[in-house]
């Protein structure tokens, strides 16, 4: 415990700004991953435990594409679309076989997928740590906010994920397709009876959820070291986020992701060893007081 360090950081604006930017990028990345998880759970009712692996694959796709083309735009698209496609295939050939089975079966299938993806990445990319490096386009001087400096890429990352989040929310709440997806979450037989191909829709939703994990991976690639096991920790954290925010709620996921981001960024200074403990304590507290999460709809009891 080092609460003096935390207090002194908060009192200087330079340190506070740096930590806030760290909190925001952790939070926004988590939001990308968790909103995908939440979307899949909200509509399909399954928990995609392989979501962390998708995040990792997205980062590696972006890395490979960037090595080949030196273009961040291509790397971003490769990560996003590549993982979206993998998500659709995974849903069609594997996940759809365990719908309606107990959660243990889904857990096991996803566990198998995690093991396989981790090993494939190890075989194809090698087990050593990889660094993508900052793309050329973002080799700008850091921006100054109130005495603290924030890399330009961080600002881009935060704005990009915010834009994607808003786009996703608008798509679900305001479009016709979004309406159909919401109906699918509540009453699939009725949607099917109205002549809509629910099988395709399920695959599509799973694909979009995976796409979000891929985007998170691609966005994270320039700022993180890439390792075959990188998906696990973000998986656990995005569970915390979905539980706190409420399963199936995009806005809830955003609030909870920022909460976790700030806990991580400032906890790293004040109480580095107990950050995990605090996150799980918050999750337990939410489950005890309001099991459906801050903004979850259905009652869980």
């Amino acid at each position: 415990m080092n609460l003096e360090a935390l207090a002194s950081c908060l009192s200087t604006s330079a340190c506070a700004v740096t930590q806030v930017s760290t909190a925001l990028i952790i939070g926004m990345l988590l939001f990308m991953v968790a909103s995908g998880l939440s979307l899949i759970f909200g509509v399909l009712g399954v928990i995609n435990f392989a979501h962390g692996a998708f995040y990792m694959v997205g980062a590696y796709f972006a890395y490979a594409a960037y090595q080949a083309t030196e273009s961040f735009a291509v790397a971003f698209l490769a990560g996003a679309l590549g993982v979206g496609l993998i998500g659709i295939l995974f849903e069609r050939f594997i996940m759809s076989r365990v719908y309606g089975k107990d959660v243990l079966m889904q857990l096991l299938v996803c566990y198998a997928a995690i093991l396989i993806f981790d090993d494939l990445v190890k075989i194809i990319a090698g087990p050593e740590y990889k660094m993508m490096g900052m793309p050329e386009a973002f080799a700008l001087p850091p921006l100054e906010f109130g005495g603290g400096f924030v890399p330009a890429y961080y600002v881009f990352m935060i704005l990009a994920s915010l834009a994607i989040g808003i786009g996703l929310w608008l798509a679900i709440e305001k479009t016709r397709l979004g309406k159909i997806v919401r109906a699918l979450a509540i009453n699939p037989p009725m949607v099917s009876a109205l002549g809509i191909n629910t099988t395709m829709l399920y695959a599509g939703v799973f694909g979009v959820g995976s796409l979000l994990a891929g985007i998170a991976g691609a966005l994270a690639a320039p700022t993180r070291t890439l390792t075959p096991g990188m998906g696990l920790s973000i998986l656990i954290e995005s569970f915390i986020v979905t539980v706190i925010g409420g399963m199936g709620s995009i806005v809830g996921a955003l609030i909870a992701a920022l909460l976790i981001g700030f806990t991580r960024a400032f906890g790293a200074i004040g109480f580095p060893l107990f950050v995990d403990g605090l996150m799980f304590a918050m999750m337990a507290l939410v489950l005890i007081l309001k099991p459906s999460g801050l903004l979850g709809r259905e009652p869980a009891r």
């Binding site: 096991l108 566990y111 198998a112 396989i116 656990i236 403990g277 304590a281 869980a300």
Partner: protein, 331 residues
């Protein structure tokens, strides 16, 4: 019922004999070590199956009690004030209290929310272990070894004696769990699993019964932790990490959740699989993942469950064929 008890006793006796004879037939220490590992993790998996298979409570945080067993026992022994039997009893008692507190909060939640809150508590305990360095040694684990002072003329520093001690404790716990599995209490649990509303109408206090089995399962898991701590002479934070819970769930699914002994079969299978796959290939995850996919998508249940069902189906078709044949003979 009585013949059932006799059969259980016979099976138990055969199991003890087998476990005791195996290391004499193959006197390699590696086999003994393997069996002790299987027994410790087997207890973890079997106690978890009291929740998963019997009651339908999918706990993701069962390893918390495994770790609490290992740490409490290790700390008690290192304090040097008590002997092994007292330390074991105190550990089981202490873990039971811990499980009572955690369970009282958890069992009120349903389905996936129960899974998540158990996971949260486990990770909370895990980070306490990591943070409280002065007591637990943090991420280095409980160092300095766990002393094994002789008691009642039994000296556990001798490898074979330690092995026999583990077998006896293991079988004792199995017997207790078997008793629960067959008791009216066990059938109440099955009813709660299949139809909690009906169980409630029939007068079962669902929350209380669930809490009861949660405490019992936690206590049994702590015995597994004690055995492992005694064997490796230490305790490590990984015992309480979520991967340990995941492994236990995997053992249950691999072996089968509806056969009493299924999780132990799963523990043996997983350990063997781990062992041989690492010998033959570096791509351990790829092979293990493929095996899981085949079992889940192919068999759609645990190996032991599948074999039991298959035998039953075969018996039924034979009986049907026999009755058809006898009808023909009569005609």
């Amino acid at each position: 019922m009585k013949s059932g008890v006799l059969r259980d006793l016979a099976v138990g006796a055969v199991l003890v004999a087998l476990l005791l004879v195996l290391p004499i037939l193959f006197p390699k220490p590696a086999l003994r070590d393997f069996l002790i590992y299987v027994m410790a993790y087997g207890l973890l998996a079997m106690s978890l199956n009291l929740l998963v298979g019997l009651t339908g409570l999918v706990s993701f945080g069962h390893a918390a009690f495994f770790a609490s067993g290992a740490y409490m026992f290790g700390l008690l022994m290192q304090s040097g004030t008590v002997g092994i039997p007292v330390a074991m009893l105190a550990t089981v008692g202490g873990t039971a209290v811990l499980a009572l507190v955690i369970g009282a909060i958890c069992v009120r939640l349903k389905e996936i929310y129960f899974s998540f809150i158990t996971l949260a508590f486990q990770m909370f305990i895990h980070s306490i272990i990591l943070t409280w360095v002065s007591l637990t040694g943090g991420d280095q684990g409980l160092r300095g070894g766990i002393p094994r002072p002789p008691f009642l003329g039994i000296d556990l520093n001798d490898a074979m004696t330690l092995y026999v001690f583990c077998v006896v404790v293991f079988i004792l716990c199995i017997a207790i769990m078997r008793q629960v599995w067959r008791s009216p209490f066990g059938f109440t649990l099955r009813m709660i699993r299949d139809n909690p509303t009906r169980a409630n109408f029939l007068g079962a206090d669902v929350v209380r019964v669930k809490l009861g089995i949660f405490v019992l399962a936690g206590s049994m898991a702590s015995v597994g932790g004690v055995l492992l701590a005694l064997f490796v002479s230490g305790a490590y934070p990984e015992f309480g990490f979520w991967t340990t819970s995941g492994e236990a769930i995997f053992m249950i699914m691999l072996g089968g959740s509806q056969l009493f002994i299924g999780p132990v079969i799963g523990a043996v299978l997983l350990r063997l699989l781990d062992h041989f796959v690492t010998i033959y290939t570096d791509h351990h995850g790829l092979v293990l993942g493929a095996v899981i996919l085949v079992i889940v998508l192919g068999l759609r249940q645990g190996v032991a469950d599948y074999i039991v069902d298959w035998l039953e189906r075969r018996r039924e078709t034979r009986a049907a064929a026999a009755s058809v044949a006898s009808e023909k003979g009569a005609a």
